[in-house]
Symmetry: C2
């Protein structure tokens, strides 16, 4: 008999919700057969996802274990969903309606971080995702790097703009944006290689950074740290919106940035044709706004619908939410950052041009794209599986990154996994086998933490079994639903006075409205004619999104 | 027969609303006789005030005459309620539901700014306010200077934090805050003179700025510009939260800053007694948060209830609004800044120690406070009338400031007064005598602008007659209601997860809850025993707030 997870602490309401959304297919087909019913259900389900917890603003950030004017306003500190473990309550009031547990034991009994390495380390064989292909973790890394940006010099702080603004493409701030623009026809600087468009290279052939990119941070570690040697030489690193080393870190990251750059310049040409009296700045700004919204449409209609195991498919209907209580100023939280560390979804090796190569060798390796063309590398990534999200599945070269995630949670003094379970409307767990059906994992956790009350968030998140037919375990999925929906749909470009033809121009609006998937975006921007297979699903997988 | 204003374009709904709120006294008494009815009415009336126009976010700022990512996110540019006059629509869609008029004529026919001077210049005699005493314009100047902060080097930009954060007391940014703190017992630096507490002086006796205040901007014009000579010598200028010259600009400004400093240090002592294990930082932050909320209570319960001519009195009930559609990120607008320029409320002269002195001589004159004590100067200001808000009532020394207001509206390309009338739900005016009953004003406006469609916002705002029994003319009152309520009640300290005992401590909470008026605040902070007359009403005026 296979190992079973103890489901007694899943929560009745949670079980019912999941059942309803992953079964009753005829009902969901009926719901989606009418536009108005679909929009109604879309609104209800998104609100239900977000309103699982109290809404922003929160009383605490990483600034201080009590509320200060800075903890309420200075977003260079990261947000916190719960007060830190060194917070001392002054009253008997519940906090956010939940009964937080004492933290003395929890803090004292945490195992040494280095002892957790084996918990994450991949076994002899990569466990592959039952659902997703490699494009999925590529997209996740690139997309989240735009707004989850822990400050590498101070883990309490962040350098995020707290919006989906495609800063990886357009620059973290305006001084960078200026240098990435060609200042002609609204375009971003680019170069043509093998007949395809790419960002300019960052370094001179001499190896020095180009003067024209002086505002772009670069860490020089690519040169100085031998294991991080850029494949193909650092002169192949592109100048993009964020730190040079980061912007070129993986083949997937670069693929998506290149795709957006091409879309931007294509739109700028279209707008220039339609509105010949517009100046460079107006062309640039309007194209940029359109690309941001296009990516947001892909996130909702392609990416999120891939994540969920539901029969219902979400649609882009931002104006439905203009009155919601959760529609508050964005503030990226530490918890959101931790819940989006899906290193274990990268397999140890990948297939490239029919040969197996180490995943590590796809870092700083832009020749993989340049030599094959963007369409081919997208198709190649889309037709091989991602690894599965969870413990015992992280390749060795990413283990330090996992431990850094654990350490971040401790540095900012996150409360226990069980406190977060209560916040996210799960009953507190009373034993480890309520998280995982894997007896080895359960035994290891017992040995490391003693009691489930002492488990820390980062480990608990990834110790949970995947939900059936989902790319994610339950609590990861729940927090992604809360923070992603409530901070994406608040994008000012989706607001009611702004999300309309007038803002994007009739030509830009038509481009936005006719796009729904990553495949749509790719096929607008590869040499014409050829069709590529591009989505988030394993090729051998039913694409119906349906429950089993 | 007295001059009459043509009321045909007041709007039926507006007339009805005003009538209902300024009459039917028995009804309003009944409403306020129950706590729940009062809260319900409070919520309904505030929502009704704010929802007169579409809610934030807006598509335009002073950044560009089209929507750009910066115009949506960079709050160092000022917000705009309507697109600027050089905006070219791309579609037939209405903007914010209104039909904006063409702007060619409007822009072409504006009179030269210098020709408007006589329109503002005070006549032979100051017209006194029928309702307000001098504390009222003092409070307004001080209070609004905390969040309406046009950048003096670039009128398109602002240096506002976009929140009521008492930056005039605590500093515009954290480097200033650090220097104003004593870093002992949570207190602000202070000195005792004549047995009363004041901020420290900014200058050394040598005339050089003190090194300890190096982060505080100072303009040196007090020394260099003879008409702006500091009375009593510049060594009497205090170090406060904003530019030294600005922070000391008028006696009223300094009175209110001194009062808040005393309250802060008083609260820090109370908290230190109650929570002896707290460090300096926690004492400081908690006292600061409490003072901000206390001022907000005074704004709602004392100041706003003075402004309105209603029988109903507003109460501080911020948690009633946590679900409102208008609860969006703050963004101070140019229009809000213009609507709060009440220079004409300062009379040409004031009574000080029984003698008449020029208002101009109360600028940079801290000895007026130091020599008399804070209680006496508050009472003296509270027992003499303010001037009346409107044209032909600005003292000569403030005329350049009025013309700067006109010029600001033109620099940022505001649309016409009539476009704003439509936005604010008034029928467009068809003649000047629908604004003013003053035949001289009507004739002057006809001569300057030709047609009411060519009138600009700044002049139109102050050309309107005062509403009966109100301190303000109608459109000023309406815009103040919109922007003030919708940007004060969004203060994070008033949010549902934060506005509670836990945040402010039981001791701080009790201090906040037991305060309602400016008088309450003053009497906590003057040498004990003596009672002073302090409110916003003319001494000879019925304080019932009632309509005639």
């Amino acid at each position: 008999m296979a190992n079973r997870r103890d489901t007694s602490k899943d929560g009745l309401k949670n079980t019912f919700e999941t059942y309803a959304l992953t079964h009753l297919k005829p009902f969901w087909t009926w719901v989606q057969s009418s536009d108005s019913r679909q929009k109604l259900a879309n609104k209800a389900l998104i609100n239900n996802a977000i309103l699982k917890i109290p809404t922003r603003p929160y009383a605490f950030s990483t600034k201080s274990p009590y509320t200060s004017w800075e903890s309420l306003t200075d977003r260079s500190y990261s947000g916190l969903h719960l007060p830190p473990s060194d917070w001392e309550p002054l009253t008997d009031e519940k906090h956010l309606g939940i009964t937080l547990s004492p933290t003395e034991d929890f803090k004292r009994k945490l195992p040494a971080v280095e002892n957790l390495q084996d918990l994450f380390r991949m076994g002899e064989q990569t466990k592959y995702s039952p659902k997703s292909n490699l494009i999925f973790p590529y997209f996740v890394q690139w997309f989240t790097d735009g707004f989850l940006r822990t400050d590498r010099t101070d883990p309490l702080k962040n350098v995020s703009n707290h919006h989906i603004d495609l800063c990886t493409v357009y620059g973290l701030h305006s001084a960078i944006t200026e240098q990435l623009r060609s200042h002609e026809g609204g375009k971003l600087k680019s170069q043509i290689i093998n007949g395809e468009e790419y960002p300019p290279f960052f370094y001179e052939e001499s190896g020095e950074p180009k003067e024209e990119f002086s505002a772009l941070p670069h860490l020089h570690t690519v040169r100085e740290d031998p294991p991080r040697q850029a494949r193909g030489g650092k002169e192949r690193l592109f100048a993009m919106g964020v730190e040079v080393e980061r912007a070129n870190v993986s083949v997937g990251y670069v693929m998506l940035n290149v795709l957006c750059l091409r879309e931007h310049n294509r739109l700028a040409d279209l707008l220039a044709d339609a509105y010949p009296h517009w100046d460079d700045d107006r062309l640039f700004q309007t194209a940029r706004n359109a690309v941001i919204v296009e990516v947001m449409k892909i996130v909702v209609e392609d990416y999120i619908n891939h994540i969920t195991p539901y029969h219902f498919k979400f649609v882009t209907d931002p104006l439905a939410f203009t009155k919601e209580k959760w529609y508050r100023q964005n503030w990226m939280t530490v918890e959101f950052s931790l819940v989006y560390r899906w290193h274990s979804m990268l397999p140890n090796t990948l297939l490239h041009k029919g040969e197996r190569m180490l995943m590590q060798d796809s870092m700083w390796n832009n020749d993989m794209i340049i030599d094959n063309g963007l369409g081919n590398i997208f198709e190649e990534s889309s037709t091989q599986p991602a690894a599965s999200l969870g413990l015992h599945n992280t390749p060795d070269f990413l283990l330090p990154v996992e431990l850094a995630g654990v350490q971040l949670g401790r540095t900012v003094k996150l409360r226990s996994y069980n406190d977060y379970r209560e916040l996210f409307k799960y009953p507190r767990a009373t034993s480890f086998d309520q998280l995982s059906s894997d007896k080895t994992v359960v035994k290891e956790l017992e040995k490391l933490y003693g009691h489930v009350d002492n488990l820390e968030l980062y480990v608990g998140l990834y110790a949970e079994d995947l939900r059936r037919n989902s790319a994610l375990p339950p609590m990861v999925g729940r927090l992604v639903g809360i923070d992603a929906f409530s901070q994406a749909l608040t994008n000012p470009l989706l607001a009611e006075n702004i999300f309309k033809q007038e803002t994007f121009s009739p030509v830009g609006w038509e481009q936005i409205m006719s796009l729904h998937t990553l495949s749509d975006l790719l096929h607008r921007n590869v040499p014409s004619g050829k069709r590529y297979t591009v989505d988030f699903y394993r090729a051998d997988r039913d694409r119906s999104h349906a429950g089993a």
